[in-house]
């Protein structure tokens, strides 16, 4: 069953509502309604809802031209008609490309034959309570009369539905019931909705869309429409083998024990959650840093490589392939390969080999073979291409991917392995503040693994605002950027359907960021889904903003962050927090590897 929330108007109120799984958002364009949006209504307000929420304009006997203009101006998907509009009028609205809902007012004597002529022109009917004034009475009608409706057009059930009606709705069945239309029953005042009450109500309905694990991957590896395994047949057997094994192995007693032991004794987990006092004062709120920079090898990447190397080991693999951008994943892979005595080949863009020299040296000392990728822009994308090509040529090897990208099951595999981050945040915050849930979790996004890990246990806690920060390089419109969600569109990269930076011919664009770890033209499919569904906010920070943020953190807290993590810190400047907000920033790595860049700018 779908949910429509109608009679919306205020942007501040809508901000609270966008987190709810609303299928339709209704705006009333009838001047006599107490919920009339008004003459000067800002088109940016309906646009606050994610694309997955269809925008509905409600009209009563409006002049056709004016209706079409409003439909265009407010980018409405659906037109709902409440007056005495004729089928001819309906047809014209429909021909203009809108979905059409025609409302009818119900009472005991309603003549259902009168619907016949509308059956073919309307996508939906809406059954409301009969009143003098075109609905909006706040009263229910007797739903029993709908037993007499034998048509095939699906309908919205409307009229005075309130928080107390959840049980009755669950009992009510009708073949054509399509959606609930909610309005005055959930208001603090006309057009101002009560988000908390709505959430409780929707939970009671036990809708599919309110189910836990809304953000889990499905059987075929999709998050909503994103993900999948778009790989050549050459990789099919490898990917199938991994798909068949990963959950079994990750769930096994042995794996869980080995993984936990290594995280404790080798990686140095749990990592602290540091209250950043000076930073908190600076931004007038409560800022906590999740200290992934304090892990062995200095970034969150090791959480993943420890898990995948165990998986490789259990699958009997002898040779490990990896790609790396900043070199953090390469180092983390070389590290675990040394620990488990496995052959290690790391592909790294030739440009990154140059700008991350200390990490290249570390990989070599750890015994890995570093192969510069000389195709394309010679950065992470190209290194990933080369790693995949190596895997095609050496199907008995294990490809140890470094982020929540690639064909299914990699995005899910890496997300699970990084989810230790939010698991710890929950425990630590609970101890510190008495509440496991912060108001905000902020993380930078390259492929998206540290963000996925920091978000994971909050994905279904809709009150926790998730903020993902992309690198915008020299600026989102500069052409020198890596802000995939902001400027990209749907495409296919490294085996995954996701958001992607590409030109109009579908050629993948070369990204740019000062930070090698964020220099990627795609993003994990989970994040594409979080962005499109509106569950996470995607912001961006430029090179300069990240550099500044690094300096601030160094000077105020005595912590030098990785350039990647500095992007997450940079949005503190752009966001507004309340005094008692709890803000967690995932400090994904330390800045040692970036000292040369920092010195160039600060020396």
């Amino acid at each position: 069953m779908k949910i429509k929330l109608c009679g919306l108007k205020y942007s501040k109120n809508i901000k609270e509502l966008v987190q709810l799984p609303l299928d339709y958002a209704g705006f009333i364009f009838y001047p006599k309604s107490p919920r009339y949006v008004g003459e000067e209504f800002d088109p940016a307000i309906p646009a606050m809802f994610p694309e997955s929420t269809r925008k509905v304009g409600v009209f009563v006997n409006e002049e056709l031209q004016s209706l079409l203009e409003k439909g265009e101006k407010y980018q409405l998907d659906v037109i709902q008609l409440h007056g005495g509009e004729s089928t001819e009028y309906c047809r014209k609205v429909k021909d203009a490309g809108f979905e059409l809902v025609k409302a009818f007012q119900m009472n005991e004597s309603f003549q259902f034959q009168s619907l016949k002529e509308y059956e073919n022109v309307c996508d939906f009917f809406l059954f409301d309570t009969k009143t003098e004034n075109y609905g909006g009475s706040g009263r229910k009608f007797n739903w029993k009369v709908l037993e007499k409706y034998k048509g095939t057009t699906p309908f919205f059930l409307s009229g005075g539905i309130g928080a107390q009606d959840a049980e009755q709705i669950k009992q009510f069945t009708h073949e054509c019931l399509y959606a609930l239309d909610l309005n005055s029953g959930f208001e603090l005042q006309p057009a101002k909705k009560n988000a908390d009450q709505l959430e409780i109500f929707l939970n009671k309905l036990e809708l599919e869309s309110m189910k836990k694990d809304k953000f889990a991957v499905d059987q075929r590896g999709y998050y909503g429409e994103f993900g999948g395994a778009y790989i050549p047949e050459l990789l099919r057997k490898n990917v199938d083998e991994l798909q068949e094994n990963y959950l079994k192995i990750l769930g096994s007693e042995q794996f869980r024990k080995d993984y936990a032991r290594l995280l404790d004794n080798y990686v140095g987990r749990p990592t602290p959650l540091t209250k950043a006092g000076n930073l908190s004062r600076r931004y007038g709120t409560n800022i906590y840093l999740k200290r992934e920079d304090l892990t062995h090898t200095g970034a969150h990447k090791i959480n993943n490589t420890i898990g995948q190397i165990l998986l490789a080991k259990y699958m009997g693999k002898k040779r490990i392939i990896a790609e790396t951008g900043a070199g953090q994943h390469g180092v983390a892979t070389a590290t675990v390969c040394a620990l488990f005595d496995l052959e290690c080949v790391v592909y790294m863009g030739a440009l990154d080999v140059e700008r991350q020299a200390p990490n290249v040296a570390r990989m070599k000392m750890l015994g890995a073979k570093v192969i510069p990728a000389i195709s394309g822009n010679q950065t992470l994308k190209d290194a990933t291409n080369e790693a995949i090509r190596d895997w095609i040529a050496n199907p008995e090897s294990f490809y140890l991917i470094g982020s929540v990208v690639g064909p299914h099951p990699y995005p899910d595999l890496v997300t699970r392995l990084q989810s230790i981050i939010s698991e710890e945040i929950r425990e630590q915050l609970e101890k510190e503040t008495g509440n496991p849930n912060p108001d905000y979790v902020i993380a930078c996004v390259g492929g998206g693994s540290n963000a996925a890990g920091a978000f994971y246990h909050y994905l279904n806690e809709r009150k926790v605002k998730l903020v993902a920060v992309e690198a915008s390089g020299l600026g989102v419109d500069s052409g020198e950027t890596a802000a995939t969600i902001t400027i990209g569109d749907i495409g296919f990269i490294h085996g995954s359907k996701t958001m992607l930076m590409q030109d109009e011919d579908g050629q993948i664009t070369e990204p740019y960021s000062i930070s090698a770890g964020l220099d990627y033209p795609g993003v994990g499919p989970l994040h594409a889904h979080l962005a499109v569904s509106g569950r996470a906010d995607f912001l961006s920070a430029t090179d300069q903003e990240a550099l500044n943020a690094a300096k601030v953190l160094a000077e105020s807290e005595g912590i030098i962050p990785a350039l990647e993590s500095s992007h997450a810190l940079a949005v503190l400047e752009k966001m507004q927090f309340k005094k008692d907000d709890v803000v967690v920033i995932n400090l994904s790595g330390r800045g040692d590897k970036d000292m040369e860049t920092y010195m160039k700018h600060f020396a």
């Binding site: 778009y230 050549p232 047949e233 050459l234 195709s375 994308k381 495409g491 085996g495 011919d505 050629q507």
Partner: protein
């Protein structure tokens, strides 16, 4: 009748298929190269749609694709170049490319252009079989465009039977676990694999690593013929395309 089906009806042995990227080495070379190949008696041509990130290709095809892109090649331009090809080109033509370029072009628009320009089939190595059969197969069939599917030495029997059901035109039998341009190594196992695929009802061509007369004849002895890409591109680069095709027979 689709020209690919016609070809396999008329000829069962030693079918020679050549691959080259559109717009390579020069932007305007697509059509002249096609004409030359037809004049030389080549049976079938696969025209590569250049892509920035060709995952299944080795260095030679990667850099040829990059050069074609630098020349200004695009899918739309390729269709424009092929607009009048059917006035003189009678060989079956196949487009080979990556799914992102086709998806971005729009699948309906793509199939429409294929119909208009007389494209007989496509090879889209990274479009998964399941996505193809569920979402696109009926469209491809309606447009009369064969989607040529790949099988590899790693393809399991179970999967092979699924592929066989969905396949049309012929099967592209990948010779070995490698990206394009690797060497073809003969082995007992390999020959068994070739024989297994060749025994299927649908015709098959062997590709990846075929680079001269000897390797062509070897591959063709197990199947309906073979596909040469990398070696032909190297010859194109050196301006010896004509001689190279001549040396194959």
């Amino acid at each position: 009748m689709n020209r690919i089906d016609q070809l396999f009806q008329n000829k069962q042995k030693d079918i020679l298929s050549i691959y080259f990227p559109a717009g390579y080495p020069k932007l305007g070379d697509t059509l002249p190269t096609l004409q030359m190949l037809q004049d030389k008696g080549v049976d079938l041509v696969e025209i590569g749609i250049p892509f920035s990130d060709p995952l299944a290709d080795g260095p030679v095809i990667q850099s040829a694709a990059k050069q074609a892109l630098d020349n200004g090649m695009s899918l739309q331009l390729l269709f424009n170049q092929l607009r009048d090809a059917r006035k003189s080109i009678t060989m079956p033509l196949i487009l080979m490319g990556y799914w992102n370029t086709v998806y971005k072009f729009g699948v309906d628009a793509f199939l429409d252009e294929c119909k208009k320009t007389g494209i007989d089939g496509v090879i889209l190595p990274d479009l998964p079989l399941e996505e193809y059969t569920e979402d696109y197969q009926s469209k491809f069939e309606a447009a009369g465009v064969h989607n040529v599917l790949l099988v590899t030495p790693q393809t399991t029997d179970k999967r092979l039977s699924i592929i066989e059901k969905a396949a049309s035109g012929f099967l592209y039998m990948v010779s070995s676990a490698a990206t394009t341009g690797g060497a073809l190594q003969a082995s007992k196992e390999r020959e068994e694999y070739f024989r297994k695929i060749a025994a299927l009802e649908i015709p098959s061509l062997i590709g990846f690593g075929i680079h001269d007369k000897a390797s062509f004849q070897h591959a063709a002895s197990f199947s309906n013929g073979a596909i040469i890409g990398t070696a032909f591109i190297k010859a194109l680069e050196k301006g010896q395309a004509n001689e190279f095709i001549g040396s194959l027979s």
